[in-house]
Subunit: 412 residues, 2 copies
């Protein structure tokens, strides 16, 4: 963009861009009507945007009375983002364009050595994903990385990430930025998940919202008034530390939270073993419960009980309109049904219970969402406060044929 466009111009430019992004191919006359700006101004701005490569002509209107109009649309490939989901076991990367199209998506097992090895793996996977798109990696301006821990924006380190060793020992953000040559934003994976479900999942457009992920751990992403809740130490939503499920005053509860010890994978298995004397993994216990085994049913009932209380807590503190359950355990309908039955007995406020509809892709989708909004404001809002561009409508289905799963990673 030019040297120093005045605040007024930047504001108009942003408005126009937002209109084009949202209203698909649209003529300049229509933009003028919608934004209230004069036709002359729109033409000027459109010319500028076209010169800079952000928008392009895309056709003409026809059928209506009057002169045909040239319609404009965003140039999706003008700039891209990389969304990364760094899980304890799988590493996913996606490339999405300015319009929110996911152009490629690749997966491989996470490098268990952690630390700088993982950072290098991310960079390599991001490049490989971009190779599938046909768009050169230089177009990627921003990488959003979902991490299973609390990223500290001042130091670039990732704290409280027990599943991946070594990320609290160096500036992950800068190291990755160096390797990728892009800006890098680290964000907690559950935070991305809640944004994903709100943008393209089962909480579409809901402003007061929580997403609870239950799997090897338990954690939540919380949104309030459409804004993410991060907390003073980026530890908001660490529901594992809720003081019930097991004794919160046991010293152990300061390391692995009281609730996490009860409702996450390890806790469920431990309770099942205490009742039956048998070792079993979580899917087996669920299967046993479906088969009518009393002990397995009791374990699920207890788990549902704890989760109902968890939702009661969320309801009392932030009063969300909907709570979306996700993660390998949270998505199980057997559990969801039990929770839905319990809730009216212990929560006086209305809460809808949803189930994650994006499954294991949710973090990636959330990364795309937040990446897009970052990129849009970086490109078009020009530092003008209030000139916020809202997200384009979600189109998260993968472009056909571009999704690749690499089953064998470097250290599989």
């Amino acid at each position: 963009m030019s040297d120093s466009p005045s605040i007024s111009r930047q504001f108009s430019l942003c408005t126009v861009m937002e209109t084009i992004v949202h209203c698909g191919p649209i003529s300049r006359a229509s933009i003028a009507k919608q934004t209230g700006l004069s036709k002359q101004t729109i033409s000027e701005i459109a010319r500028q945007l076209e010169e800079d490569g952000w928008i392009r002509e895309t056709g003409r209107t026809s059928g209506h009375v009057g002169r045909t109009a040239i319609t404009y649309e965003i140039v999706p490939e003008a700039s891209c983002i990389a969304a990364i989901d760094l899980g304890g076991r799988k590493l996913r990367a996606a490339i999405a364009d300015l319009a929110g199209n996911v152009l490629a998506e690749v997966t491989e097992p996470t490098d268990l050595r952690g630390g700088r090895h993982v950072v290098e793996q991310i960079a390599s996977l991001a490049h490989r994903a971009s190779a599938h798109t046909g768009i050169p990696f230089e177009k990627v301006r921003l990488a959003i990385v979902g991490v299973p821990g609390a990223p500290d924006r001042t130091t670039g380190r990732v704290l409280m990430a027990p599943n991946i060793p070594g990320l609290d020992e160096f500036d992950v953000s800068s190291a990755l930025a160096e390797l990728l040559g892009t800006d890098v934003v680290l964000e907690n994976d559950v935070n991305l998940a809640v944004i994903g479900e709100r943008w393209a999942g089962s909480a579409n457009g809901i402003d007061d919202l929580a997403y609870i992920a239950i799997g090897t751990g338990i954690g939540a992403g919380v949104m309030v008034g459409g804004e993410l809740v991060r907390g003073a130490g980026n530890a908001a939503g660490e529901l594992g530390f809720l003081p019930f499920g097991s004794d919160p005053f046991e010293p152990e509860s300061l390391k692995v939270g009281a609730l996490e010890r009860a409702t996450a994978t390890a806790g469920i298995c431990a309770r099942y073993q205490a009742l039956t004397g048998r070792n079993a993994d979580v899917p087996t216990i669920f299967a046993a419960a479906s088969g009518g085994q009393a002990e397995a049913g009791r374990v699920l009932n207890e788990t549902a009980h704890h989760l109902a209380l968890t939702i009661a807590v969320l309801s009392a503190v932030t009063n969300p309109r909907r709570v979306v359950l996700g993660g390998s355990i949270g998505r199980r309908m057997e559990l969801v049904e039990r929770i839905r039955a319990l809730l009216p007995l212990c929560v006086p406020l209305p809460v809808e219970i949803g189930v994650s509809s994006l499954g294991s892709r949710v973090t990636l989708v959330g990364g795309v969402a937040i990446g897009l909004s970052h990129l849009h404001s970086a490109l078009f809002s020009g530092g003008v406060p209030g000139a916020q561009i809202s997200l384009p409508p979600a189109r998260v289905s993968i472009v056909a044929g571009s999704s690749v799963t690499l089953q064998s990673g470097p250290l599989a």
Copy 2:
């Protein structure tokens, strides 16, 4: 202000106004330096603001090298707000000016008949408060009313306010607006309290914050990133419904929350009676504990235990930097000390525990704060998004001699 000042002008105007509000008496040259706008623009805007009566000359600089400068300041009495604290037993009203000076403060017992009687009482008390200021009531543009319940902004009714009957039966907001001739904003009293403590109390400038009021009930005002958390049904912070303290699955817990039954006045007294067989009010129990009585001490210990868990919950959900305790019970140091001792045993994240420093005035002070920010944006931001004016520094001490407590109300 004029017909339709352009967005650019409005932005500058808002910036200038903000600078004047914050930097006290200040010369136009200094404003230019601070804002980056040209001296010419500042002079123009200042002329306009002076004409409209928002600012005035207040003196000259001296002592420094160079020509003396005319300094400008806000005209505090140009516009006022009324802050009302509608409690179950006491009704307080304050009048504050644009600079945040509290000009008058009056109190009387709440009209126990509730409903429209209370609305009329508010109007009458607000007028009486304004009479003490010497400023005509017409200058009052906005009334902020703290209510012990959940105001519904769409209907203007106040829900979940058991202490004051009848407020859920009609549009309280409109009724009061009619009587006062001002805009009216209803807000939950604890929400105002947390804003008050953040503006002028023991949580100055802290963005991630909770204020817990413990008295006849228990409730919290929660702030996240400097923004109030209201929740989907304006019921955020209803900590009384937290599922511990007593059995959350008892049907009674859907009416009076499980935690509220344990930690609020009634619960404390009931537990004391169960242990000793004696009826006693809360101050008596505290006194007994100080005197070394074991049962009273045990009641306090249990209460502190529940409150520590409550803070653990807040910590896990929104991860506040500080939690401020208030209310007649929450302010007692005997309790605060016990809680501080328990916290490191059950909360892994750092949380500071503060004590309300504004006492019973906290809601009123919060009302002033939120009223000021409303008024500033209404007057100066001109609907320009992003043109937010931040609050002036707090000056909540009452102007000498203007504070009046009416001990006998109409229905005392």
